[in-house]
Symmetry: C2
Subunit: 617 residues, 2 copies
């Protein structure tokens, strides 16, 4: 049955096509492709079960190129499998092509974008978790990894979690070609040390010659028959294998071969083999979770509730209303209150421990299979996974993130725990929304909206309790705002979100006592921001004070300025934000020290109006 | 000589004081302190060599609390060592106190802020590297780690790098108390599996009972006598050790004890032991690198040079001018051009492989010892280390970061390699500067300025070549700008940085041909931005087009809006930025698709002026 000669020939074809792809594009990574060609030839012909005609079918195996720069090899496989034709193959790296420099989901069946090293395996853990715990289908996840990326800590987060969750449906294939971009890797060809590490992390580890098709076939078979633990192959290979001018030589990374025609001849010339990739068994049914129904929680106005608690309770309710909602947390579920979901829906809760990169990657993986993940940790600690969130946007992933303990208002724990850059960094993610509700009813309604939103949606919650101001029947939506107070006599507008809404409203009281009417706007949707309400306020008052529990850059203040960038009348905006490094203290002390408490806001408004009176003379 | 009874009593005192600290503060992590008290008692009394009267002396050992939440234990040690008095100890977590919720350098001899888990050990690797490779002093680095943080991949980056560099001056002490914040860790008390992992990563690993002072003493002695590799202790301990109401019980994380008085009595009451910590041998001299002198490179105007190459050449020259400059890179030194430094000054170049978190942590570590690190990788990949950069700001670290391959102008590699959020995320770092020069002469001068700047300074460089417009004698400085063209007839201002400066200048040519004079400003300093030049331009033209190769949020456009927020005349700003997810393509195709090429900039200017004419009627 098994035709080793065909597999060897297929490997050579993948090499030749990798050389051709980079040659015609004028850039790319042919040598990093050539090292893994035999590994992928045997996978395609005999082990992968993937219906390329139905690339998103639930029963399909998944293949992730964690070493995304080996895209010439990946696209050569698609061509061999008949998923793309010769004409499309020739468009590699051209403007408008689906075949980008690094794979993205624009070309099916690609699940996720890769190209930032160390992310494919953690995402593979997420898909494998979905297979085991959510879909409950027997598909397998195969991840081609580079040896250079084994230096990324995220790979070891993946190793630990995959073993902890017994993901025997996951196989990592490490292409140990020894050479990185500029130098030899720390371990070179020492595959036994790699294997010892993997075994210590609980994996079934196999070392082999990555150019021996028999050994590769046996290793895949061993992976398929291993239960209770994932398997990793550490395959000793040669970068640029098969072409003497580049094989196992330094300085040959990431560029077309100097003499591609000679290389192709040395590899035996262009071939036109096609491989009939096995299709998966589609008889098992996809698991669905039963739900009880119900509705999102509401709170009485006048109550004091922490928005993080509202998040947890709303998420738990959402889980009862929808069977596709999944929650993940970074071992702080009693702080973020995702524990509310965990208790209500334990089968759909994934504990990711103190490993935020793996948490985001797992969320990306489960959404690739159609689930609706909500991932939570302290808002500050999403910074740990920022590259994963950036890449998730390139993957067109639909993620919901909830970050608790935002800003100086957390108090005594100090600045390491205070998110003060989260709105800036997450606004600057393509297609994102950034939400920062000021009360529990807003929070619950936004959680409901998040579940259906495409792209990356971030909800910032507060540690302390805030007054419920929003009535249960008010309209709250992504892109909206809430006008807390307004009158026809307003001379200044105070804009806040989260904890500064209360402070702005108190500031308005202080100003009113002095005869100054102030409008107060709660921009619970920071991105997209309610430009219409802000523009109207600018036209009415020509003076805005924006207060946020965040650094001055990139948060609410900048969002307000952007909304008014095209406003043609004179308007002055004063941004109040945290400008000095905070310390420990009470929330009140810290809000005051930052000048974003009611007094600080009122003082800024008075100054603006006094300066205007002075200017007017 | 060794008095084990004293050490046990000292351990009990550290526990009692930890309980007292959290009790009086009303918050904190006493149980996480109590588990490690014996480990720290033996370290203080017999192994640590640290002159607390001269906390920044170069010969001192370093002690890092990677589990920063055990700050009650840390401050209890400072009290026992005489570094703080009882009165200051009582200020724990209060506003204005040096004793914050998590340790920061505000309280000497603390090298770095901790509290985001998984960072202390990687920083310890940096200090240990400084000891071996730069200072060449025999100090030791001791890092107290939690077991929960062993799930962070960054810990395994540290394990790998420490072994690779043979850091036998580094000892990690892992407090395996089994219990995380909400649940048991993945490995619980399985210290043998931890040890197997560490050994596979090349460390000398010891397992022990973390409450046995003899065993602890022997383990430290073994660490001190181990050469060629670092040592790690996996100490089995009990969280809340010594107080039955909390010992080894879940649900006791991160809060004061319910009955602290009873707990203190159970621990034997308050003690007032003081420990005479050994002082280091100050006879070895600190290594200094000899330098050749020279000056920063200059280029002829009219040349075409990539700013990344100018960075590398300027850095190499700087290394010849100053002996304290050190370079680190994430295995892309031939892309960032830090290889220019590596070739010129190999003794001061630290290869950090594909491990960006460890790279930033190592830079933080070497600057803690007074060195001047420049760390480089692709601009996009600083996102991988964003939490480390955030924490570095809390550490008051002086870091210089250089990110190459910014924006869509890199071309065919695709969006995974394109930094489009770097200016936003790095502007939102406390005390940072963000620089994005448009030509080689600007770059070299800014590199020179960076070396002396406090805080975190980020330089964004380009893959492709740009025209050298800045003459060698022009003033270039952080906070400055360059007016590329201006006249008294300017009707619109075009603002760019990096690659968009050329495009803005070409746009001005297009507009001039239509009789529209445009001012062109090169904001090579994005933070701080040259508000004075922008305000003047706003007053002169009342219309600005800002073009940047970056997402619309948080970058140059927002910086310009912030500079004009207080400007009281009407001014309209149009932000041009990358709004759709880019793909592969040529730089020209991608700049055009994003609307940030000369045509896009000119079109925006025409639209603004037409709209103004329409408004004026």
């Amino acid at each position: 049955m098994v035709d080793n000669n065909f597999r060897r020939e297929l490997g050579q074809q993948l090499r030749v096509d990798s050389v051709r792809a980079a040659w015609h594009a004028g850039s790319g990574h042919p040598t990093s492709s050539m090292s893994a060609a035999d590994l992928m030839a045997v996978l395609l012909d005999g082990h992968l079960r993937l219906d390329y005609d139905n690339p998103h079918a639930p029963h399909n195996d998944h293949l992730i190129f964690s070493k995304g720069h080996a895209s010439p090899l990946y696209y050569s496989m698609l061509k061999a499998a008949g998923a793309i034709d010769d004409a499309e193959f020739a468009t590699y790296r051209q403007f408008g092509s689906r075949l980008e420099g690094h794979p993205t989901p624009r070309i099916p069946p690609t699940d996720v974008a890769t190209g930032s090293l160390g992310q494919g395996l953690p995402v593979g853990v997420g898909i494998a978790l979905a297979g085991k715990r959510l879909d409950r289908l027997p598909y397998r996840v195969w991840v081609l990894c580079g040896d250079s990326e084994m230096a990324e800590g995220s790979m070891w987060e993946a190793f630990e979690h995959a073993a902890h969750y017994g993901l025997d449906n996951l196989t990592a294939i490490v292409d140990v070609n020894r050479l990185g971009q500029t130098t030899e890797t720390m371990l070179g060809w020492d595959v036994e040390t790699y294997a010892a590490r993997a075994r210590a992390f609980g994996w079934h580890a196999i070392t082999l010659d990555g150019h021996d098709v028999d050994a590769i076939d046996a290793a895949y078979a061993a992976a398929e028959s291993t239960t209770d633990r994932p398997t990793v192959l550490f395959a000793k290979t040669k970068k640029g294998k098969g072409v003497k001018a580049v094989e196992d030589l330094p300085g040959k990374h990431g560029k077309p071969l100097d003499d591609p025609e000679a290389a192709i001849a040395e590899l035996g010339g262009v071939r036109d083999l096609s491989v009939s990739v096995a299709k998966p068994d589609t008889s098992p049914s996809v698991h669905e979770f039963s739900v009880d129904g119900g509705s999102l929680p509401v709170w009485e106005t006048g109550d004091h509730v922490a928005t993080r608690l509202a998040y947890g309770q709303a998420l738990a309710a959402l889980g009862s209303m929808r069977g596709d909602v999944v929650a993940l947390d970074g071992e702080v579920s009693n702080s973020t209150h995702s524990e509310e979901f965990a208790h209500a829906h334990p089968d759909r809760y994934l504990e990711m421990y103190i490993a935020e990169q793996q948490m985001i990657a797992a969320a990306v993986g489960v959404q690739a299979r159609g689930w609706v993940p909500f991932a939570s940790t302290f808002a500050a600690f999403f910074s740990r996974a920022y590259d994963f969130i950036r890449m998730a946007a390139i993957s067109s992933a639909d993620l919901r993130l909830s970050g608790s303990h935002a800003g100086v208002s957390i108090g005594a724990d100090g600045p390491s725990q205070m998110a003060l850059e989260d709105m800036a960094s997450l606004r600057a993610v393509h297609g994102s929304a950034v939400l920062h509700p000021s009360d529990a009813n807003q929070t619950a309604k936004l959680v409901g909206e998040m579940a259906s939103r495409k792209g990356i949606t971030y909800l910032r919650t507060l540690r302390g309790k805030t007054l419920v101001r929003t009535t249960p029947d008010e309209d709250v939506h992504i892109g909206g705002s809430r006008t807390v107070r307004s009158s026809s006599d307003d001379r200044v507008t105070l804009v806040g979100c989260g904890v500064t809404v209360d402070e702005a409203d108190k500031a308005a009281e202080l100003l009113a006592a002095e005869g100054i009417q102030a409008r107060v706007i709660d921009c619970y949707s920071v991105k997209p921001i309610d430009a219409s309400v802000l523009t109207t306020a600018a036209g009415d008052t020509h003076a805005l004070v924006v207060a946020e529990d965040h650094w001055p850059e990139g948060g609410l203040g900048d969002a307000v300025l952007e909304a008014l960038a095209g406003f043609e009348e004179p308007v002055v905006v004063r941004k109040l934000a945290v400008r000095d490094m905070p310390t420990s203290g009470t929330p009140e002390e810290l809000l005051r020290a930052a000048g974003i408490d009611a007094e600080g806001i009122a003082a800024a408004a008075r100054e603006m109006l006094a300066s205007r009176r002075a200017a007017v003379g």
